[in-house]
């Protein structure tokens, strides 16, 4: 039945006001900064505070000249290191996403099929790590993976190895760290999607002769597509720009774009270069972000 929502009819004469505050806030603190980053990316490094030159210059004849220094971008495109870092970041993010799916899908599925009481407990257990500090949990892996860490100690004590395995400061450690940190981000939206599934569809399929694995492949998987995509985006996009995990677990050789940005900014004080990196990273990720928005819109439209 069609009805007009009351909020539309009596438009809280403050209807505009309600959304105005968050709108202005986000404009100022979210959008405007990006414009500034863009501007700085065209600047030159300067030994000044702040350490970049101005783009706009007025001369005596009231003529405004705008200098767009493209060197930063040229530098990034021609320097092999950055290109490698970008590719590596994408690769790491992609692999991590797939690993998260591999571990997380069965978990989300298991929780969605569990009895309501068990389900709530399991959900609680998934959410709990999410609420404890990421930093501390990544730190935990340092203790587990290092040369005289817990895992090596146990393996040595059991006689399975004679020399400690080099796990810390390797790509392996980074994957473990990312998968570990982002797993709840994949499980939760996927669970939300699976929970809405009508399990009787599977029973109907089996009744018609489908085997459990086939039923899963033909029915459950396609229906959970939105959940898979949403969860994957929530892992992939931030993982590309991840900094903390490569810094703590990846070692000095871990080439991740997030780390590059950080180092350019804090170590080299090259703000314009860092800005250019940020812009490129942003341009790379915006299509994925829009894809994510699209998925969310479709999911909520489907739910209605």
């Amino acid at each position: 039945m069609r009805r007009t929502p009351w909020s539309q009819r009596f438009g809280l004469s403050g209807r505009g006001l309600v959304v105005l505050l968050p709108y202005l806030w986000l404009m100022l603190f979210f959008v405007v900064p990006f414009v500034i980053v863009l501007k700085i990316s065209f600047a030159d490094i300067d030994l000044a505070i702040p350490p970049y030159t101005s783009l706009f210059q007025w001369d005596e004849k009231n003529v405004l000249s705008i200098k767009l220094n493209l060197n930063n971008y040229v530098f990034l495109f021609t320097n092999e290191l950055y290109f490698k870092a970008l590719i590596n970041s994408l690769k790491v993010a992609l692999v991590s996403t797939l690993l998260c799916l591999l571990i997380g899908y069965p978990m989300a599925y298991g929780i969605a099929r569990a009895k309501p009481a068990t389900r709530n407990l399991l959900l609680l257990l998934v959410i709990l790590p999410f609420w404890t500090s990421l930093l501390l949990r990544v730190y935990a892996w340092i203790g587990l993976l290092k040369a005289n860490g817990v895992i090596n100690n146990i393996l040595m004590a059991l006689g399975l190895i004679h020399e400690p395995l080099a796990m810390l400061y390797t790509p392996f450690a980074m994957y473990v760290g990312i998968v570990y940190s982002y797993l709840p981000f994949l499980i939760l939206p996927l669970y939300a999607n699976l929970e809405k599934m009508d399990w009787q569809l599977l029973e109907a399929a089996e009744d018609l002769g489908c085997r459990p694995w086939q039923a899963f492949y033909k029915i459950t998987l396609p229906l959970s597509r939105n959940g898979i995509l949403a969860g994957s985006m929530l892992v992939f996009i931030p993982a590309v720009g991840e900094f903390v995990i490569p810094a703590l677990l990846g070692g000095p050789n871990a080439l991740m774009i997030g780390r590059i940005l950080w180092d350019e900014f804090f170590s080299n004080r090259a703000w314009p270069v860092a800005s250019a990196v940020a812009i490129l990273l942003l341009l790379l990720l915006v299509p994925f972000m829009m894809w994510y928005q699209g998925i969310q819109a479709r999911e909520s439209a489907g739910a209605r």
Binding site: R15, P22, R113, L183, G241
Partner: protein, 274 residues
């Protein structure tokens, strides 16, 4: 597949949870380890509370914790206001100018890498300082403003999803009985969605408390937060005091989460029965 819990699924779930919790448990266990090497168990002197004593008298950590607390509380409270407004507006007003933009802005921080957000906010503050002299230098103010910007995105999502299952007939009934729309919001809607708002507050608090990257970009001299201090210690390797910090953090978080979950489950039961 009704009652047949697949062995495969159960073992996957068990493995997954083991994966999630073994590191946490290991941190807790080794917080009682006397050895400074943390991961080498000193059977002779352990278990011990000496690192607990050491942590709780560590000035640097305590100061940082205090700053983190201040920022987190202000951030959570501010984010809840912004997020509730945005969440309410986006879920109820289906058609207004700028809706698409607001929706995009309010949900982008959820997926944006923090290095980008952090850098952009810092550059904003620098530019503002040049332009109008405020904010003068970076510190608690700039950190709090930055945290609020990304926290409100989470609160918006929480509030929006709560309102999606809210029965608007309750609001129509209130209006039918004579209450004007604004009154309806404060007397009917708000009290009923309060648990969601509270969990939004807790979420924003936690995000701020744990935040490293954005804080690093937007903090100033003398305003180091707890994660920043932890990070600088941890870059050098393991430290027993950090294990203690982890154990304390996890314990407090667990207690709060369990308590809140019980309360939310109770009020859900009540509303569903109505």
């Amino acid at each position: 597949m009704n009652q047949r819990r697949s062995v495969f699924i159960i073992s996957c779930v068990a493995f997954g949870f083991a994966f999630l919790y073994i590191p946490i448990l290991s941190m807790i266990v080794f917080s009682f380890n006397a050895s400074k090497l943390v991961t080498v168990w000193d059977a002779a002197n352990s278990p011990t509370l000496k690192w607990y004593r050491s942590l709780l008298s560590n000035e640097e950590i305590l100061d940082a914790a205090w700053i983190s607390l201040k920022v987190a509380v202000i951030n959570a409270s501010g984010s809840v206001i912004l997020g509730t407004l945005a969440g309410f507006g986006l879920s109820r007003f289906t058609n207004f100018r700028g809706r698409f933009v607001l929706n995009a802005m309010a949900t982008a921080p959820l997926v944006m890498p923090e290095v980008i957000t952090g850098l952009s906010l810092l550059l904003l503050f620098v530019a503002l300082e040049q332009l109008i002299g405020w904010p003068a230098g970076r510190g608690i103010t700039t950190m709090t403003l930055s945290h609020m910007t990304f926290s409100m995105a989470y609160v918006t999502v929480v509030v929006q999803s709560r309102l999606a299952t809210f029965d608007t007939a309750l609001e129509e009934a209130a209006m039918d009985l004579g209450a004007k729309p604004l009154k309806v919001f404060f007397v009917i809607t708000l009290p009923i969605i309060f648990p969601a708002i509270l969990s939004g507050w807790l979420l924003a608090f936690t995000l701020s408390w744990d935040d490293l990257v954005i804080s690093s970009f937007t903090s100033g001299p003398g305003s180091s937060t707890l994660p920043m201090v932890v990070f600088s210690k941890v870059r050098l390797g393991v430290s027993p005091e950090i294990n203690v910090l982890a154990t304390l953090t996890i314990s407090v978080v667990t207690l709060i989460i369990v308590a809140v979950s019980f309360w939310m489950a109770r009020s859900n039961r009540i509303e569903r029965a109505t």
